[in-house]
């Protein structure tokens, strides 16, 4: 008896002593958030989250390897608290708030003078009111009188200002306004609203394929409200770091300043605030609507898939992304080289999207690992299909299958995946688009002696971005224009030794408006090269067809893309929606992002059991005729901020990012160049 008590006591104290000393000696600093998160988890060590126990899960959540709602046991309040610790908002209820859409006010020009009428509805009934602008604010304050909560007052510039704290979302102001200046909307409604012909939109915002409210975020930058600027962009585009780097900014071609002066460098400003958020080291919390419990399978983790999943998650659904490649990002990761979009930046951006509570499954391929039938059986309510366009076109010339012949996307994907590729000394890249340029500049950085870009038209007709063409000229890439490859020449070992081409001359313009090249007879010339890359365009990969349940149901167009209703993104199978390159053919990243949001709107309608119909009067990237000007008065010429970049001698040997971010002072200057346009009015600099 005595010895057993002594033994137990002795054993306990020895173990206790050793452990207390050990905890002192072997103390390691740990992120205090891990302990906080762990306290909020269930503590059951059940492994339901896929991690080894609660402390491992807490660590994964803090290291952003797991979403905040990873734990399957704890209550919603705990998830919200974890989300607060991690700086993301899980969302509790979705309140209605009033938003003012017109900040033209007194700067807008008048067409009529009304005497004695002092209500908006009164003047609106006479020829629509005094303003030239048919949609703008009349500034007589019907909304102020309608508001029962004293939340609206007329600002000094002659348009209503809403106090968000006091607004209860009753809708009285919207009902009182004869135009549609004040709109009472939930966050979800705002996120899924497509640009419409009755909206107060500047030409740039009409042009942007992702429909970002460009003047608004530039105004935020001008006022130094960088976080607000990021939020404004994220209402329409979750991939601002990527777009800030690679977007060919179609918006800038419609910039009103560009008519009289150089356009505002919109994309650089986007990159400035996006980098600001990343470099600040903390993510801005993103609000999500309360859970609906509906699940959506997103096939393809490229820009369209990520965008669609992001918007679906923010409006409360549960998307899961299925990606065939080892990592998410699609063409952003495997098609765009490191020097244009560093993988580290992309990883940070994608993790921010997944942190909202989106599952990502990689290395799973449609037709091999799963099919539409199995997704529906696994409980998904709808499918978003964005497999991209990964199938390179072939030239159709003899000798194309020799060793040393590659295709553009295949080549870039291998480099992006860090696979070893045997590189020649003298390389010909065939094609005039961005993929061809990316191949050229990648090869140069891989250390080849000579890169020739072979294109059958001239520089003027090249579809690649102008900045990319200029950069590749600076880096010493040689262009062979008006050359149509005829055949590949090889030796007995089936190795490429040359490329024969026919010289061309430009004839009549074709349907695309570009002059059609016509071959010159007898002009065969041979280029001495030992590697050839064909980058003349891509179409979606259709290899999954015929390999599984319901995989042949989707209609295909004659360009091998998937048939969709362009206004809704719905395919011929009602529960499948598509966007991105798979639906449009190879196109811009920002088009894929816009398509993803458009499809998210339709999927939301579908999941709520409503008919999937196009939004009435949606612009779908057409322009409002009255907003497009021939000339712009009152613009003082001021130079556009030049993009800082690595000097040529440094950049051609490394995969370091070539384009750099502008400084804060430059960003403030550049944002001051913005005219703050709306549909008709803008801020004149000279009067």
């Amino acid at each position: 008896m005595i010895e057993s008590i002594l033994f137990t006591f002795g054993l306990g104290s020895v173990c206790g002593l050793i452990l207390s000393f050990a905890s002192k000696i072997f103390y390691v600093y740990e992120d205090p958030r891990i302990a906080k998160v762990e306290n909020l988890l269930a503590g059951a060590n059940c492994g339901g989250c896929g991690f080894a126990g609660c402390s491992a899960a807490a660590e994964a959540i803090v290291n952003e390897e797991a979403p905040v709602n990873a734990c399957i046991l704890v209550a919603t309040e705990n998830i919200s608290e974890i989300a607060v610790i991690m700086g993301a908002e899980a969302g509790t209820a979705e309140p209605l708030k009033s938003y003012n859409n017109c900040d033209g006010g007194n700067r807008a020009t008048d067409r009529f003078i009304y005497n004695g009428l002092n209500t908006c509805s009164g003047v609106a009934s006479f020829y629509g009111g005094k303003r030239d602008c048919t949609v703008g604010c009349l500034g007589l304050g019907d909304c102020v009188r309608a508001c029962g909560f004293d939340a609206i007052h007329l600002g000094p510039n002659g348009y209503p200002v809403v106090d968000r704290e006091k607004c209860v979302g009753c809708g009285a102001c919207e009902a009182a306004c004869p135009k549609s200046i004040l709109e009472v909307r939930t966050m979800s409604q705002r996120l899924l609203h497509l640009n419409a012909s009755y909206d107060a939109l500047a030409p740039c915002a009409q042009t942007c394929p992702a429909e970002i409210d460009i003047p608004r975020y530039i105004a935020h930058i001008k006022n130094g409200e960088y976080e607000e600027a990021v939020y404004t962009i994220k209402e329409r585009n979750p991939l601002l770091l990527a777009c800030g780097r690679v977007c060919p900014h179609p918006c800038e071609s419609y910039c009103r300043r560009g008519i009289e002066d150089e356009p505002v460098s919109i994309n650089q400003l986007k990159r400035f605030v996006a980098d600001m958020e990343m470099n600040s080291g903390k993510r801005l919390p993103i609000e999500c609507a309360p859970d609906t419990g509906k699940r959506v399978a997103v096939i393809g983790g490229g820009p369209a898939g990520l965008s669609c999943a992001y918007f679906l998650r923010r409006v409360g659904h549960r998307p899961a992304i299925f990606e065939a490649m080892p990592k998410l990002g699609g063409m952003l990761r495997y098609g765009i080289p490191e020097y244009r979009l560093p993988k580290k930046v992309l990883d940070w951006e994608i993790q921010g999207i997944l942190n909202l509570g989106i599952e990502g499954h990689t290395n799973v391929r449609l037709g091999v690992d799963f099919d539409f039938g199995s997704l529906i059986a696994a409980g998904f309510d709808a499918v978003f299909f964005s497999v991209g366009a990964w199938n390179d076109y072939n030239l159709g010339i003899p000798g194309e299958d020799m060793d040393g012949c590659f295709t553009g996307i295949d080549f870039l994907a291998k480099i992006g995946n860090q696979e070893e590729v045997e590189i020649g000394r003298r390389v010909a890249v065939i094609g005039g688009g961005n993929t061809a340029i990316d191949c050229c500049r990648t090869l140069l950085r891989k250390g080849v002696d000579k890169v020739l870009l072979v294109y059958r038209r001239t520089r003027k007709e090249m579809p690649a971005n102008e900045v990319e063409i200029v950069a590749s000229e600076e880096e010493g890439i040689e262009f062979v224009f008006l050359a149509a490859p005829n055949k590949v020449i090889g030796n007995e070992e089936n190795q490429v030794t040359g490329l024969e081409y026919l010289k061309m001359e430009l004839g009549e313009p074709d349907a695309s408006g570009r002059r059609r090249p016509v071959p010159v007879a007898g002009s065969e010339t041979v280029l001495d090269v030992d590697m050839i890359i064909t980058a003349i365009g891509q179409s979606p990969e259709l290899g999954f067809r015929g390999k599984g349940d319901r995989l042949d149901d989707l209609d295909i167009t004659r360009w091998n893309t998937f048939e969709i209703d362009p206004a809704t993104g719905q395919t011929n199978v009602p529960y499948i929606f598509a966007a991105g390159d798979a639906a449009t053919g190879a196109s811009l990243v920002v088009t894929a992002i816009g398509g993803g949001r458009r499809a998210a709107r339709s999927i939301d309608l579908f999941l709520n059991g409503k008919p999937v119909v196009p939004q009435p009067k949606a612009l779908l990237n057409t322009h409002i005729p009255e907003s497009i000007f021939e000339s712009v008065d009152g613009v003082k010429k001021r130079q556009r901020t030049k993009m800082p970049e690595l000097p040529v001698s440094e950049r051609i040997h490394t995969f370091e990012e070539t384009d750099l971010v502008i400084s804060e002072a430059d960003a403030l200057y550049e944002s001051s160049r913005c005219l703050g346009c709306c549909r008709l009015c803008y801020n004149k600099e000279l009067t």
């Binding site: 054993l11 050990a22 060590n45 492994g47 126990g53 690992d369 696994a378 409980g379």
Partner: protein, 190 residues
């Protein structure tokens, strides 16, 4: 019994998970992802070898010597628990790379039933020290084998058509039962 038979018996015939049904909670919990399963398997091997040998030493040189054999269970629990905690702290400070690989799994299997079971079996079968070491190692290898096999299956099941009421843990339990049935074919081999 030779060492070869002992190894076969530990890995297949008396597989700790599928024939003796010990350690089912981590088996179901950490088999969702292959990566986690491999980490867990390694951690079990590490802990079982340590625990199996140390408890054998404690039993033979302390408990038997002082005639305290009836305190076996309580002594084993305290010894294994403090040992694992100690090793975890040591690894975290001194070998962070190894800790990143196995450390996070350690607290999960502190005096887990599989660990405790193997230690008790080593004593009950009257193994020598070397036999106890080999048995602990290969019981753990058997555990790892079953866990990794199962994780492979579950990764595929995630993508398969599973009727709604059977999804997740229920289909996992059914699958585990079937693998266990398959392992019954080894019975009587040794």
């Amino acid at each position: 019994m030779g060492y070869f038979e002992l190894i076969i018996a530990c890995v297949f015939v008396n597989n700790i998970l599928l024939a003796q049904f010990l350690g089912n909670c981590p088996f179901l919990g950490t088999s969702k992802k292959m990566e986690t399963a491999v980490g867990m398997a390694m951690a079990v091997i590490f802990v079982l070898v340590l625990a199996g040998t140390i408890t054998w030493l404690v039993y033979t040189y302390i408990l038997v010597k002082f005639g305290l054999v009836y305190l076996r269970t309580i002594a084993f629990i305290v010894v294994i628990a403090s040992l694992v905690q100690f090793v975890e702290m040591f690894l975290k400070k001194s070998i962070p790379a190894l800790y990143a690989g196995l450390g996070i799994f350690l607290p999960l299997i502190t005096t887990n039933c599989a660990v405790m079971g193997v230690c008790v079996l080593n004593i009950d079968k009257e193994f020598t020290f070397l036999q106890a070491l080999v048995a602990s190692l290969f019981y753990a290898v058997g555990f790892g084998l079953a866990l990794i096999l199962f994780a492979g299956l579950r990764e595929r099941i995630f993508l398969a058509r599973v009727p709604k009421p059977l999804q997740d843990t229920s289909i996992a339990l059914i699958t585990a039962g079937m693998i266990s049935l398959a392992f019954f074919a080894f019975q009587g081999m040794v």
